[in-house]
Symmetry: C3
Subunit: 478 residues, 3 copies
């Protein structure tokens, strides 16, 4: 499962931002401002038992399948996020769509594309290339980005994007839609606005079909209506659209109801031809942007050139590494500045067999953990000292560690890997054991008296485990 | 309906801000800080049908009338705003009041006044002028601002303000009270605190009378009590106020219950005399402040001198202009810096006959549209591709376009003008058609496959409409 | 009641913040970012009657008692805060704990300690001192801070802290837990996570026991379970903890259930020995930090050395002082920069006998008032001009003045002192009477017409009370 998947991605997304766009492009205050939206929606976190979750709903498209976790599950309600997974077949294209809240997704395998509002169509076919393919006219479009396994991709609120799998096998993407984000001014339900295809209703706000959203409107015309689905153009009057596009009604009716199978993942017959730099060169560019962005004033970076992705699975980027235990990598506003505007971050963990992640709590974020490989054991403890989860977790499962709750992860003898989406752009954790733990920071006398232990015992609690974050399997591990 | 209306406005509003005011006045961090309150209250947006709304409640005062839109309407609930309209007769004075949330209002016709906390009483009668009117003593008070048709006025949370109509005819003001704003720490109901007059209860939180706010308290004493109304001084003990003002009880009882008709719009017998610079000179001053404010660090601008208004109907300020279609003007934090602290912005649209505003969606804001003149047709489409509004709108009506929803406006042969209040200080839109549209940014192959159209058709969708934001009536328009 | 109480405080709190901590320590953007979380949770503020509140629940520990105000009271619900009071006996140690939201507390009498994530263990026993006490091994731990009467202490979200009373008599601390703060991503109930001791369930989320939180789960196993209580370690598997701490199971079982009486305030048999600078020197250090912090860019200050406390009862720091009336002191983000990150501030008032605090309203914050000494009369007036409180308040009582509501305080002949916690880091008030009042800023003609008074009367309202904030008892006072 090497990172040989190649996807071409381009976000179709232009903005009407009267008179002010120039200033945004200069990146002065607009970006600083957007980052300040941080309060989350009110949640219900009466959590007594957590479960490792599998997706609950599966929606088939022509060239792939989209699976949703149950947004009404109490742990996703508490974290106030929706999670889904695309499985995109070879030459599958996920049609352009946008959401009223930021998204973060992780490429378990495979590509993707994003374009910013008002950004110029900088990708332009040269005369030369054009002449090679006589039958094809010249094209120009916004920047297209390539994505590979291990990439974390950030999508700002309301920006349209599409994904194409040009790799040799299935592309799998797990996405967090942060409906609790302050950018969301609607309610807490997932909403996807599709700019093409023939989306089923479940894809547009899948909880509708479960009766939770349109309560009481399921019977009668309302219920029927909400089951029709369709892309965004369908709702407009044909003649108004014909006028807007200055096109004939026949073409408009194709826009409103494409002659294709149900769904949002379309099979491209020939290969999808988009302009895209060589992969090597593109990475160079990204690195340049990263350099600019990680300075104190990432602000100067313009939105149009902003870096949207970061490979979080690259061993050379690990923040904590224990040759006998594994590694942990964090992507937050410091190494991916776009995250400051969407108030999210992520952590990738790779534990070797029987290794352990130091028990800790999240100070200022929820942690939405998706297991990418292997299996292991997790325990999560609430404020009353009761564990709300104690069990096995395995590849493909999801679990939420709520803010403040304490958690420990231990790999099986097959190892354990995960991606954690965190609801804060600088998510912080505090460890309960190890060299950087809260116990280490306490005076011995406070430990002695808090636990009624001897001075010698207090010292053992403080100093026996010298490792930092990833603990190697000790003599006590089975 | 030329802009000949003249109103004198002055906000009475001084603040007790111990020891720190100096720093605010220096505009260092305080302003930067206030701007960071951006998350909105949680809303319910289960919207299946929108309607063009007329005001539902009408409250008469001596010299004018105040009309409220129904705050319980589902579209205003979703946008989480309250809207009202003052119709102020000649020489009508709206007594000073404040609200626990920011306000934005638009002068359909007519004036207004605002004073900032702790700002010096910089308007002082000179000896000379004073001696001219022997019978009158000298006065000094805080800055008073004049307002004319087309002005957009921003009022920070908790600041008191009054409005006086010194023009030759009725003054009409439409106000958005952003109860969903993060500055509001109470609940989501409109609350007006009056510092004078004899306000009816409906004016103080009109929804009370509709049973929605004080549920279960309508019967019995509670219900009776809430119907009494009265200004803020009425609630204090007469003797405590007498001591606070060092005044005799007779005067205090006038403060608590002025001998005047019910209401908040008082008829001034002679003309209201306030100190106010020549209109020409005042505009000069405003322009100076605008210049300072639009720099990268509007922060340096002090609150006391901060510009509160911007004429959004001035053709020379249009951001998009199509001689055959009309114009669109935006006021946001870049051209009216106070907006960054109250997290709101506005758009004024003027469409000529049969012209069309490009179909688009709002990325990060609701748009609360009030029709100021003419009529036309609007369509609004939800995420499931169903239109939730398809109908005529006309002068004086209000409609909400929720975040993410797609919308198109088309003028009748009488033209169409509107003011849109937006719940973000840098509201952004993305167009579906035209030269700056999302379709234009997509590669041709993505369009082809998303809509199952030919390459030639994809090109027509991308390039047939070359105009930007305001579309002139095409050959296809009726 | 001189400030002779001496407490040693140290927060045990180390953080796992991969790769990014260095940048936080440089205080560049991380701190700027945290400050931007400002929107509060949605509240219910249908307030018709307020009461002066006494604590409702009392939980005994070995060496002290913790008293909670009823979080379900409508005024605390409106302000969205929880309040409790520790009464800590001599040599009492409150075991380390943390909360998922910021806290602010005031030392009515007595000490406390806090440590920041990832900060080095800078307090290290010297060889010399160590050799004096041969039987004791060397210790090193994070910074410990001393606290005295009149100190206001700020605790960032999720940071662990402990308190020890090394004074000669009881230490009393009143704490505001700002559950409505945007840092809180869980729900609106108080949650305390204890890292030691044997906490009763009421201490961990006391409202549980009142049925409000775990509604419907009181019967059966759920209810029983939530009554067990216990510290955070109890929830983990013994063997996992043994592996994490690399310690034997016997020691771990002490960690999970210390052999001590119920509770969180432990009696220390000998004196608690922690490393702490001389009190005089420590104050010097704090002043240095204050100096750095109060500049325009408090940002440069690192979190590890950040000042957490400010003595708000020091007469020399008064912001308003009237030799015949008393004084008012404000602590906000300008004189205690940590407050910008936790979005809270405070006001200390000391009124002499029969003096009066100018009637005013809070523009942008709730004010949670705790009476520290004496008694007096308060009136609070809602937007409809009705008073929602008119009565006596005395030492130990609590009352909320909601945002926008007008309030007046008048001392009895025994004087009146209070601490007000405010839900904004730059809380602002606007006065109704006095030299800095809103009335003073209005033109005479507006006053005349708003209250239907003569010009002479309008002048008396404007100018009769020349004092600023604290009014001396006038000839009209009884």
């Amino acid at each position: 499962m090497a990172s040989t998947y190649l996807l071409c991605l381009g976000l179709g997304f232009l903005i009407l931002f009267h008179a002010c766009f120039a200033q945004i492009a200069q990146g002065t205050d607009a970006t600083r401002e957007q980052q300040q939206q941080q309060q989350r929606f009110q949640t219900q976190c009466n959590i007594q038992d957590l479960n490792a979750l599998e997706p609950q709903q599966r929606v088939e498209s022509e060239a792939g399948v989209t699976e949703f976790w149950d947004q009404n599950d109490e742990q996703l309600q508490c974290a106030n996020v929706a999670v889904f997974r695309h499985r995109i077949q070879q030459r599958g294209l996920v049609v352009p769509s946008y959401t009223n809240t930021p998204e973060l997704f992780y490429v378990v395998q495979g590509i993707h594309g994003a374009v910013f509002p008002g950004c110029p169509e900088t990708y332009q076919e040269s005369q030369q290339r054009s002449s090679e393919s006589q039958s094809r006219s010249q094209d120009q479009h916004q920047k297209v980005r390539q994505i590979r396994e291990g990439d974390l991709v950030a999508l700002p609120t309301g920006s349209a994007n599409w994904i194409y799998n040009d790799g040799p096998s299935e592309l799998v993407v797990v996405a967090l839609v942060d409906v609790g984000n302050s950018d969301n001014q609607l309610d807490q339900f997932l909403r996807k606005f599709y700019l093409g295809g023939n989306p089923q209703p479940q894809l547009q706000g899948y909880s509708q079909s479960q009766g939770s959203r349109y309560q009481g409107s399921q019977g009668g015309e309302g219920g029927d209506r909400s089951r029709r689905g369709g892309n965004l153009f369908r709702g407009f009057d044909e003649r108004l659209l014909a006028e807007a596009f200055n096109a004939n009604p026949d073409l408009i009716s194709k826009l409103q109801g494409p002659q294709m199978q149900k769904g949002i993942i379309v099979r491209v017959e020939e290969e999808l031809r988009v302009l895209s730099p060589q992969r090597g060169r593109e990475q160079e560019q990204e690195q340049e942007q990263e350099f600019q962005g990680s300075g104190d004033n990432g602000i100067e970076e313009t939105i149009c050139t902003m870096k949207l992705k970061h490979n979080i699975n690259d061993p050379s980027g690990a923040d904590a590494y224990n040759p006998r235990g594994g590694r942990v990598t964090t992507v937050n506003r410091f190494n991916l500045p776009i995250l400051r505007y969407i108030q999210l971050s992520a952590e990738k963990g790779n534990l070797y067999q029987n290794a352990m992640m130091a028990p800790h709590w999240n100070l200022n974020a929820h942690s939405v953990v998706y297991i990418t490989r292997g299996n292991g054991r997790m325990q999560i403890v609430a404020e009353n000292g009761e564990n709300v989860f104690d069990g096995q977790i395995r590849e493909g499962q999801l679990i939420v560690v709520p803010q403040g709750f304490a958690v420990v992860k231990r790999a099986s003898n097959r190892g354990l890997e995960w991606i954690s989406f965190k609801t804060n752009d600088v998510a912080m954790t505090s460890q309960l054991a190890g060299r950087a733990s809260v116990i280490r920071g306490l005076p011995l006398d406070v430990i002695q008296n808090s636990f009624q232990v001897s001075r010698d015992e207090a010292q053992r609690l403080k100093y026996n485990r010298q490792e930092l974050t990833v603990f190697s399997p000790g003599p006590r591990s089975q």
